[in-house]
Symmetry: C2
Subunit: 247 residues, 2 copies
């Protein structure tokens, strides 16, 4: 096996998420990548993604791997060759040959997600597809204080979409940060794993803190409650971006 790791950036606006949806006819990132890889390889190629992203969610640093056995193409030429076939909203930013046992999902040590808020009284036509418009002014200091309660190893069940089923809802959030750049507010989360919709619900909860509806220190009891109903709303997908996958 010749195992190739790709780093992929995409604007998820026009896709029904990362994962292939066989037989539905809906375009996904995975299928689009596999089609272009298949054209290069002249055979069916299957990619393994580090993590699924939902419909409308973006990525700057999604990671996939695939078997390139028998390909004559040198690894450093793969980005250019693939980008020539891919639509403009999916870009391969890096390709590397990795060990046979590298698996994009299983080997991931941590992931970094960013949720972006356009915090201004006036919406922006240029940010509408890459942020959540929030016209009410937000207290960044309170949100930063709330972040300290999010960090650590916790049972994050209150931030999991209801109905999701996983073995354990315990995760470790290494870092949660608030970055303000004028009307743009970023929430950056780095953790060993994320529950379904966890980032979008944490972001919705931070907004409640920023508006003074939840006190920063109440995050502690919210987490302990394990009750989804006590957390904030699930923010829309277009503000979310998978920034990096760490190995």
């Amino acid at each position: 096996m010749r195992n190739i790791k790709l780093t992929v950036a995409y604007d998820g606006t026009n896709y029904h998420g990362f994962q292939e949806q066989r037989g539905t006819g809906l375009a996904t990132i995975q299928e689009t990548l596999e089609q272009c890889l298949g054209r290069l390889a002249r055979r069916r190629v299957q990619v393994i993604g580090a993590g699924r992203t939902d419909s409308g969610v973006h990525a700057r640093g999604q990671v996939v791997n695939f078997d390139a056995s028998g390909w004559p193409i040198p690894v450093e030429r793969i980005p250019l060759a693939l980008n020539g076939l891919l639509p403009g909203d999916i870009v391969v930013t890096q390709a590397r040959e990795v060990e046979e046992n590298f698996h994009a999902r299983i080997c991931a040590r941590s992931k970094t997600y960013r949720y972006t808020i356009w915090n201004s009284g006036i919406p922006s036509p240029f940010h509408r597809l890459y942020s959540c418009f929030w016209p009410v002014s937000l207290d960044a200091e309170a949100m930063s204080a709330a972040c300290t309660y999010l960090e650590g190893t916790h049972d994050f069940k209150c931030f999991q979409a209801s109905g999701a089923t996983v073995k354990t809802t315990v995760r470790t959030l290494y870092q949660a940060r608030v970055i303000r750049e004028g009307p743009v507010i970023h929430f950056v989360f780095n953790g060993d794993g994320f529950l379904y919709n966890m980032v979008r619900i944490m972001a919705g909860t931070l907004l409640q803190v920023g508006m003074g509806k939840i006190k920063p220190e109440s995050i502690k009891t919210l987490i302990e409650s394990r009750k989804r109903a006590l957390a904030g709303p699930t923010l829309p997908p277009q503000g979310l971006c998978l920034e990096r996958v760490e190995y």
Copy 2:
């Protein structure tokens, strides 16, 4: 007459330019604005734009004016009311009541345009609709030096799209600047008026300077030649943005 001045931002990607194209069925910024104003006013409303923008060109500060005689709506409520009707890619950022004789086009003293380059070996899915991708590295200092030769009152015929007809091709460029922010390069031009495609051709010429194909000081003789063929290529529309109109 109750004369209202609106400042409008738009993502021009999905429009066939600013100006209405009667009977073509193609969506333009002007028609979309007029339709929404018409719904508010319950009668036909015609807007006057400060300047046309071509298909795919954006604006952060386009200015229009229209007659709001008989409207009961207070001017400060117009942005919110209009933005509720407009699609997300057109946003009214300001509304002001102005003197009867204000005319968005005729009264404009100067305009500021920005042309944006994504100067990186790897394209960006997030900048593809708002910049021109240019993978060859560019010498920002040489381009800045070239800008000093662009500034001033000149016959800019060499930067006018061939075939365009205007009375005079003399214009005054008050300022031409190069701003680099990582992989993003902005060319900012402020002038009393611009010929057809002038900004996109000046930007294409600056790229030639940045690649060492034209010397900065050759801009002087290029302008004196008045020959379109000696200037650089017309860069694509998506990198262009009408930033501001000054009155």
